[in-house]
């Protein structure tokens, strides 16, 4: 397959050179423009041939045609060859914006021909035997440390597992919130044997929660960063949700609290990001969000963003919509735009203004309404898609 593609590429290059010979009267600019026209007309094959001819001519500025060759190859799905062309372009390009673009595209190409394996939640890898081991509670507290965490638990093996999963979760959170930047602090994680112990020791434990985070200054002025978790559920079994959901969720809240400082982060966004940080998507939230916005249980976006507490009767809808909205924004914005949006929210902008600033577009009063409509449409679409998928699976089984 690879050799066939190579033959095709060589053929195109030769064709390009022949084309170049045939249009000798045209300038490099004319020919680059021809290639760009082909690209715009969704004819990547012709675009590649013309651009390859320009590159082969070795005239002044001809090297810039490498990026057209690369884009044309990428649009044809020939990612390895596209990557090679992007590299050729990078070798001579000095423009920072164009270099950033090319490097981003190289990442995309790599992802396309070798996507990273889909992460499996840690709990899915645990055997019954292993779960039983993790449910054991010793009389001694064990301490384990990793790059960013110091874990204290009454089970040595659990302390190790929590440490490794905390690092995995932190990487995910940094990718979502910190645009890939490192989190430069150390966090203490305490895993308590059960809910009673957790409530006794956790610094800020809500009555109903099985985990919480703390960010405060102690008497000596040191910043305390701490996460409290529960090892076993009410039946005495190892609580797998602690690993997959509660640990990343609380850690995300901690990172956000640190990022926002005294500034206000809308609760919906805060919870939405924390849910996104969890090891896997909870489809029930997607289904509920779609059903809520399509029905009469909807919490409208403007109200959702102003809520700083929720009532028992709408807590599920609140969480579902918060997750749906945050995912929508994260998907639709580029990572840089998402990071800028968070920075503007931290600076005091309401969400619609923050998004518009991140997009660098003139302020539009009707933007919030349009954003809400787009999000609701997507929430309904996704919910319907999942429903159809479930029905299909049911029929098949």
């Amino acid at each position: 397959m690879a050799s066939r593609t190579a033959i095709l590429a060589t053929g195109l290059l030769v064709g390009g050179l022949a084309l170049a010979a045939g249009i000798g009267g045209l300038t490099t600019t004319d020919r680059i423009q021809d290639a760009l026209s082909a690209l715009a007309e969704s004819d990547p094959v012709r675009a590649e041939a013309v651009a390859a001819g320009v590159v082969g001519s070795e005239r002044d500025g001809a090297w810039r045609a490498w990026i057209v060759v690369a884009a044309a190859r990428q649009r044809q799905g020939r990612h390895r060859q596209a990557l090679e062309a992007y590299r050729q372009f990078l070798a001579l390009c000095r423009d920072p914006a164009e270099r950033t673009y090319a490097m981003d595209r190289i990442r995309q190409c790599r992802m396309a021909f070798g996507p990273p394996p889909r992460p499996v939640p840690a709990s899915k890898l645990l055997s019954r035997q292993r779960r039983a081991e993790l449910a054991e509670v010793d009389s001694l507290q064990y301490t384990e440390s990793t790059e960013h965490f110091v874990i204290r638990a009454y089970n040595a093996s659990l302390a190790k597992l929590v440490g490794s999963q905390a690092e995995v979760a932190l990487r995910r959170i940094c990718r979502i919130i910190l645009f890939g930047q490192d989190y430069p602090h150390a966090v203490s994680i305490y895993v308590w044997a059960d809910v009673a112990e957790y409530r006794k020791h956790a610094v800020s434990a809500a009555e109903w929660s099985g985990g919480s985070f703390t960010l405060r200054q102690d008497a000596s002025g040191q910043t305390v960063r701490r996460i409290d978790l529960t090892q076993r559920d009410d039946d005495g079994n190892f609580d797998v949700a602690m690993l997959d959901r509660i640990l990343p969720h609380e850690m995300c809240h901690l990172v956000l609290a640190e990022l926002f400082g005294d500034a206000r982060c809308p609760l919906a966004l805060n919870e939405g990001l924390a849910m996104m940080a969890e090891a896997e998507v909870d489809n029930s939230r997607v289904l509920l969000a779609g059903a809520a916005v399509a029905g009469d249980r909807k919490i409208a976006m403007d109200r959702l963003l102003l809520m700083d507490r929720y009532k028992a009767e709408n807590v599920a809808v609140f969480y579902a919509e918060a997750f749906s909205l945050t995912c929508f924004l994260h998907r639709r914005l580029t990572p840089e735009q998402f990071r800028e949006m968070l920075a503007h929210i931290k600076g005091g902008c309401p969400l619609d203004e923050a998004v518009q600033r991140a997009l660098y577009v003139p302020y539009d009063e009707a933007f919030l309404e349009r954003l809400a409509r787009s999000w609701e449409n997507e929430a309904v679409r996704q919910s319907q898609f999942l429903k159809a998928l479930h029905e299909e699976e049911d029929t098949a089984s």
Partner: protein
């Protein structure tokens, strides 16, 4: 025809004599020209310049016909059905500041010969698709042709014709604008760059800033290729509706959305520069408010550039700057209000002599004056953003009313009323 030739000869003679007044001096010399009298002098303007003599040296002045009279005479002599003869008189009239008569004659020529190019041109008309159009209509047609992609017709025919007849600088700028965009869209990037440089030099802000940005973009991307880092328009990726006009990747600046994307990137750079200055200003607000104010003014200059390139793109930042400056003024105003309160407290505490009492009242009035001036400054700052800063404006207005009422009472007390 003989009549026309005769009329023309007479006109030529008149042109040489530069008017018709005849001055005879006491020493016997005589001069022809246009004579004006000023106090004790006689000034004669003729084809070679102006000379003057004391009135006492002049024996006589014989007035000749005015240009209007000369024109009337000639009109009587020519064949009015000959378009060329009428046209020649129209030209003569225009050269002799008789623009109204010249225009009338030109219209007469056009009635005689609808395709008389000289007359049409002098009337400010250009020919397009076989029709003669007045300048404003022709400019509209040119803009339509630009949007329709008829660049060759524009560049080779219509725009040169328009350039010949357009006199006003605004019209000439519009023609150059159309020329620049026609060159750009027809991929004549170097020519387009030069046109936009000219436009930047000849127009005023904000247009000049935008034109300079286009010229800079074309200089930086001389091959007309612009690499779009994201699709354009950017909201198309976030909101439902029509998808992006241009996908990310290499694209030609000859396409208007690609140019718009390039300009937005320039505006984005200006905003980023402004935000960096704003961040510096924020840090100085508490310790060096005057320096902070200067920094905010500097940030506003960057925002001016951004807004010139993409209108309205920096609006929300401008509101933020005003909000922060209002907060700074409010802080200093509260200090003055505190001084006022302290002085007021003194009133009830001590056994004051009438002079001390008066001084206290004066002090209170001064404190109120400073508060009043701060409130006026707030209202002035906020006034361009009435919708966004409605709370700040309402608050300052109410406070100002209160301060004025208090001041009135104090002034009455001071003047013993």
């Amino acid at each position: 025809m003989r009549r026309a030739v005769l009329a023309w000869l007479i006109m030529a003679v008149w042109a040489v004599s530069a008017g018709g007044d005849h001055v005879v001096l006491k020493d016997g010399r005589s001069f022809d020209g246009i004579v004006t009298l000023s106090e004790d002098k006689v000034v004669i303007e003729h084809a070679y310049g102006t000379i003057s003599f004391p009135a006492s040296e002049v024996t006589s002045i014989q007035r000749g016909p005015t240009p209007a009279q000369q024109l009337e005479t000639q009109l009587a002599l020519i064949d009015r059905s000959d378009p060329d003869a009428v046209f020649q008189l129209a030209v003569w009239a225009a050269d002799n500041d008789l623009s109204k008569q010249s225009n009338e004659l030109l219209r007469e020529v056009v009635q005689l010969d609808g395709d008389h190019a000289g007359a049409r041109k002098m009337l400010g008309q250009v020919r397009d698709d076989g029709k003669w159009l007045a300048l404003p209509a022709a400019l509209q047609v040119a803009q339509g042709k630009l949007e329709a992609g008829k660049y060759e017709v524009l560049l080779n025919q219509l725009l040169p014709a328009l350039e010949e007849v357009a006199k006003e600088s605004k019209q000439r700028l519009l023609i150059l604008h159309i020329r620049g965009h026609s060159q750009l869209r027809s991929r004549r990037f170097e020519q387009a760059r030069k046109s936009f440089e000219l436009l930047a030099g000849r127009s005023t802000p904000p247009d000049s800033i935008r034109y300079a940005a286009v010229a800079e973009l074309l200089k930086k991307h001389a091959d007309g290729m612009y690499v779009m880092s994201e699709p354009y328009p950017p909201v198309a990726m976030v909101l439902d509706g029509p998808g992006p006009a241009v996908a990310s990747g290499p694209a030609s600046l000859a396409r208007p959305p690609v140019l718009a994307a390039g300009l937005r990137a320039c505006a984005k750079d200006a905003i980023k520069a402004a935000r960096a200055v704003m961040d510096e200003a924020k840090k100085l607000e508490l310790t060096e408010p005057e320096a902070a104010k200067v920094k905010y003014a500097l940030a506003e200059k960057h925002f001016d550039k951004a807004d010139a390139i993409v209108p309205g793109i920096a609006h929300s930042y401008r509101v933020e700057i005003v909000r922060r400056r209002i907060a700074m003024i409010t802080k200093s105003m509260n200090v003055e209000a505190g001084k006022y309160d302290a002085l007021k407290a003194e009133l009830g505490k001590r056994d004051l002599t009438p002079a001390q009492y008066g001084e206290l009242i004066v002090g209170m009035v001064r404190a109120l004056n400073r508060v009043r001036s701060d409130l006026n400054a707030i209202l002035q700052l906020a006034s361009p953003f009435e919708r966004e800063l409605v709370l700040e404006i309402t608050d300052a207005t109410h406070r100002l009313q209160g301060v004025n009422a208090l001041r009135e009472i104090l002034m009455q007390e001071l003047h013993g009323k």
